[in-house]
């Protein structure tokens, strides 16, 4: 181990801050953190992110923030100098310097090139506009910025064409469906993913993709992009024109060798390297990743990069000077546009003696084919059903002898379980293909004392790519920990900044009499440090615990709760007057209409909770709009009691058996504004026909024959859909009111922050909830009733703050983005003084 001072260390420069470059550096640091003074260059202006996940970002299932592998802090923590947003344009081999486009010259002792690939642009007329780069509306799919631009543009357009029917094109097509109404995929070859799949597999995949609503054209050669100022369509070689306003190029990649070529290195299809990843003919320059060509092969998937990174790190740190890379078997397991696909080895038989085993079930979109030579598996293609892939990959990697009865390779014939069990797997069997993590790595992490699944995932990154291996990771952790798997401690904390589960936290708050969020941080957070992400949860908890005694610090509230309206995507707010039980009057409607007109409200909308939403109100206009409305707040913004939806019930409906409207109004009147760990949406319906959708509410009430009411809890019909569980059947509206309050209070006291009832009720178990709330098994019913009654007594309409703001500038605009600026403009001091003089 070197323990040299940073200034005396050898200098390692890495060009390319993508998946291979950053991974290599991580491997180096793991082996010998003090060996090199490291400098990294990345042309993209970001830290290091997981490129694979761009498909998920495009599809809107993953946040940009969630795909970063190493944030800027990581570079700082490891003493790495990062030049982000900076391109290296020449390597001066003679003086051992790299020249970058920010004018810097950085000396190196060792240099690693990891410049990845660039999108291949087929020769299509009209792709580029002179002097402007791509034609407006034409995008490549390679970087985070490409993805951002594509989303931004596609959002305002209708029809997209994706050129290229490989992995990338399929992912792009699937993702674009989130943003445009029509997507066509054009592939120049006869079937989709033709490099990995045989024809029947490609056709099966096509059928599954078409079922998702993507139009597929195979054998389609795009020759021209139409449209002068903006794209209007594409033209195929056979003359067919497809109308569209967005075009995405996903026709393949080319190793990015520009820098290596300019600098006089050996380049063919990629930068030519030997088994130590050293550039041919060089002593101190290496290349890894998609830009490297090893034994004539360049790779376009991540798994081989991890193998390369390990070898290079072993070599360059002197850990194992014999480490050698011998190429990677490319076995892919992917979810392509939502369809499971796995491919390894040959895709078609080569010799007459090669045996093929095929199974197809087109209706289910399943196709499986194996190629066997001399009793060994030499190729496999699976579409739609990849349950046997773990075993097949092992058989393929290791050349295991295969069972006599070949069907056993694809089906469970009452024999061994579908997946290889964790115990059976070989140590070097790869579990996570996205991040190149083997079973052995996971076992090692557990043996080093990480005993929670999430902890192992953080440490090894297993399961953090496409996620298809998460189940297996869990099994291995469980097996390796011998049944001693721990829950991630932070997962049980109520908020991230205070390391305590809710009951302990409440206990501590009570013992010390902590009535403000800042006092909780000061006493209970590590180092007394505030944490912005914990403030809201603590504010809600303290309000619930202390009621009127709570010391309400406004900076602990989310903006919605500071101004009592819902912030919208453009920084304006939406205003929702109360409309108990969804009942309104002509006078109220008139007033709302007049106010909307007076304030030029851009949109007036009925909400899903039976109220009227005035959208697009600037913050500074809120007090006036409330004054003009002069109605109470409908609480459309908080983590709080929201509405009670009702049907017309026995008043008018010919089926109604209970007065749902009156009961709904009574409930809303009583519990309005109650804060909680999540929002609470309720409903009352006048008969089991359920017109107010009470079965899918946090608490829903249904009138049944004989004057009785059923109460359901834990339902949801938002991002999650769940039918509520029957809590109780009661005889009177009064009992409904009591049990409603008691259940809500129990939920407020015991749910985790942001845990909605649909998660809370199943977690506790409806039987337990019922025993406590209905049968008073713990003898706390009176206390719960009293606690909720206290809230009712202290209720105050938040919109009263309109006349006396609580903080200076409570309603001052924060966002004069579009029409600059609406807040007072300050002049430079000199000018201001003149003005005063």
């Amino acid at each position: 181990m070197h323990t040299s001072k940073p200034s005396e260390r050898e200098r390692l420069v890495v060009v390319g801050n993508g998946m291979a470059g950053a991974r290599t550096v991580e491997e180096i640091l793991q082996r010998d953190p003090d060996r090199y003074a490291i400098t990294m260059f990345g042309e993209e202006p970001h830290g290091n992110y997981n490129r694979i996940m761009l498909s998920n970002v495009l599809a809107g299932v993953e946040d940009e923030a969630g795909i970063f592998l190493n944030d800027l802090q990581w570079y700082a923590d490891n003493g790495i100098t990062l030049h982000a947003g900076c391109k290296v344009d020449k390597i001066d081999r003679k003086h051992k310097l790299v020249h970058a486009d920010d004018g810097t010259q950085t000396p190196y002792d060792k240099l690693i090139i990891a410049t990845g690939s660039t999108a291949f642009v087929p020769p299509i007329t009209g792709v580029h506009r002179p002097g402007r780069g791509y034609h407006q509306g034409v995008f490549a799919f390679r970087t985070l910025d490409d993805t951002r631009n594509m989303i931004r543009y596609a959002r305002d357009h209708e029809r997209a064409v994706v050129i290229g029917g490989g992995l990338l094109g399929l992912e792009a097509a699937r993702g674009l469906q989130q943003h445009v109404s029509h997507v066509t995929l054009i592939h120049a070859m006869g079937h989709l993913m033709n490099t990995q799949l045989d024809e029947p597999a490609g056709k099966t995949l096509q059928a599954s993709v078409e079922k998702l609503g993507i139009e597929v054209i195979c054998d389609g050669l795009t020759t021209e992009i139409l449209g002068k100022h903006a794209v209007t369509g594409v033209k195929l070689k056979n003359g067919r024109v497809i109308d569209c306003d967005v075009v995405v190029l996903a026709a393949g990649i080319r190793a990015n060798t520009e820098l290596a070529t300019t600098s006089g290195l050996s380049v063919e299809q990629g930068v030519v390297v030997d088994d130590q990843m050293r550039v041919a003919g060089e002593t101190d320059i290496y290349a890894v990743g998609e830009c490297a060509q090893h034994r004539g092969v360049t790779y376009g998937l991540v798994a081989p990069l991890w193998d390369q990174a390990r070898v290079l790190a072993d070599h360059i740190t002197g850990r194992n000077l014999d480490a050698a890379y011998h190429g990677s078997q490319v076995a892919t397991k992917l979810k392509v546009a939502g369809v499971d696909v796995a491919a390894m080895g040959l895709k078609e038989p080569e010799l007459d003696t090669d045996e093929t085993v095929t199974f197809a079930e087109p209706r289910r979109g399943v196709y499986q084919s194996l190629i066997i030579r001399d009793d060994r598996l030499v190729g496999a293609t699976l579409v739609g059903d990849v349950r046997k892939v773990a075993f097949l990959m092992q058989a393929f990697d290791r050349g295991l002898p295969l069972p006599e009865e070949r069907a056993g390779l694809l089906f469970d014939l009452g024999g061994p379980p579908a997946e290889v069990s964790a115990a059976e797997m070989a140590d070097d069997a790869q579990v996570c293909n996205c991040n190149g993590v083997c079973k052995g790595d996971i076992v090692e992490a557990v043996q080093c004392g990480v005993k929670s699944v999430s902890g192992v995932m953080d440490k090894t990154r297993a399961g953090k790519g496409c996620g298809s291996c998460k189940g297996l990771v869990q099994q291995i952790v469980e097996w390796a920990a011998g049944g001693e798997v721990e829950e991630d401690p932070a997962a049980s904390w109520y908020v991230p900044g205070v390391p305590m589960p809710k009951p302990e936290l409440m206990e501590a708050i009570r013992t010390h009499g902590l009535k403000s969020v800042s006092s909780v941080f000061a006493l209970l957070a590590p180092g007394g440090e505030e944490d912005a992400k914990s403030k809201m949860g603590l504010a809600s908890l303290l309000k619930m615990m202390w009621g009127a005694e709570y010391d309400d610090e406004r900076d602990a509230r989310f903006i919605n709760d500071r101004v009592h309206a819902n912030i919208q995507r453009d920084g304006t707010f939406s205003v929702v007057p109360q409309m108990k039980g969804g009942v309104t009057t002509p006078a109220q409607l008139k007033r709302i209409a007049e106010v909307a007109e007076k304030h030029d409200v851009p949109m007036v909308k009925l909400t899903g909770g039976q109220r009227i939403d005035l959208l697009g109100v600037p913050k500074e206009n809120l007090p006036q709009i409330w004054a003009d409305l002069d109605m109470p707040s409908g609480w459309a913004y908080g983590k709080s009691f929201r509405t009670v939806k009702t049907c017309v019930g026995s008043d008018f409906c010919r089926f109604g058996v209970g007065d749902s409207t009156a009961l709904g109004i009574a409930i809303e009147e009583r519990y309005q504004g109650l804060e909680g760990p999540g929002k609470m949406k309720l409903a009352v319906t006048g008969c089991p026909r359920n017109c107010a959708e009470a079965y899918v509410k946090d608490l829903g009430v249904v009138a049944i024959e004989g004057g009785k009411w059923e109460i359901y809890v834990g339902g949801a019909a938002g991002a999650h859909v769940r039918k509520g569980d029957l809590l109780a059947t009661v005889d009177s509206a009064d009992e409904v009111l009591t049990l409603t309050g008691r259940f809500l209070q129990y939920y407020r006291e015991n749910a985790n922050w942001l845990e909605r009832t649909y998660a809370f009720v199943p977690r506790i178990g409806i039987d337990v909830v019922r025993a406590i709330v209905v049968d008073d098994a713990e003898g706390i019913a009176d206390r719960l009733d009293a606690a909720v009654a206290e809230h009712v007594a202290t209720y105050r309409d938040p919109w009263q703050e309109r006349s006396t703001p609580v903080t200076p500038g409570q309603f001052r605009s924060s966002l004069p983005l579009t029409v600059l600026p609406q807040v007072p403009v300050r002049e430079p001091v000199a000018a201001a003084q003149e003005g005063r003089a």
Partner: protein
């Protein structure tokens, strides 16, 4: 950090900003969010979230970061770097003069 221009701007009395919160100011042609931290410190950063234009002055803050109210990207108030992978924001030197007026300087057009 760049400080090409040393122009100073007087924004107003510091007690215009409630403790722990921020307010937005138009300074020259830029929108600047000034945070008054709980320990009394001041921070000034560009008021517009680089992610999708969110109003950072409406965000929740602590001694270290502000969290954008729209999609929860977080930014270090001292360096402007995002801790969640968004592009960085600009930070401006800020102080209070003897009559408790907020003064911001440098780098503004």
């Amino acid at each position: 950090m760049t400080t090409q221009s040393l122009a100073e701007y007087r924004l107003g009395p510091v007690d215009e900003i409630p403790v722990g919160e921020a307010r937005a100011y138009a300074v020259g042609g830029e929108m600047v969010a000034v945070f008054r931290l709980r320990d009394g410190g001041l921070r000034a950063v560009s008021a517009v979230c680089p992610h999708a234009g969110g109003p950072l002055a409406d965000g929740l803050a602590d001694q270290r970061v502000v969290v954008c109210p729209l999609h929860q990207h977080a930014f270090d108030l001292r360096t402007g770097c995002s801790t969640t992978g968004a592009p960085p924001i600009t930070v401006y030197p800020v102080r209070v003069d003897d009559d408790n007026t907020i003064i911001i300087s440098g780098g503004l057009p």
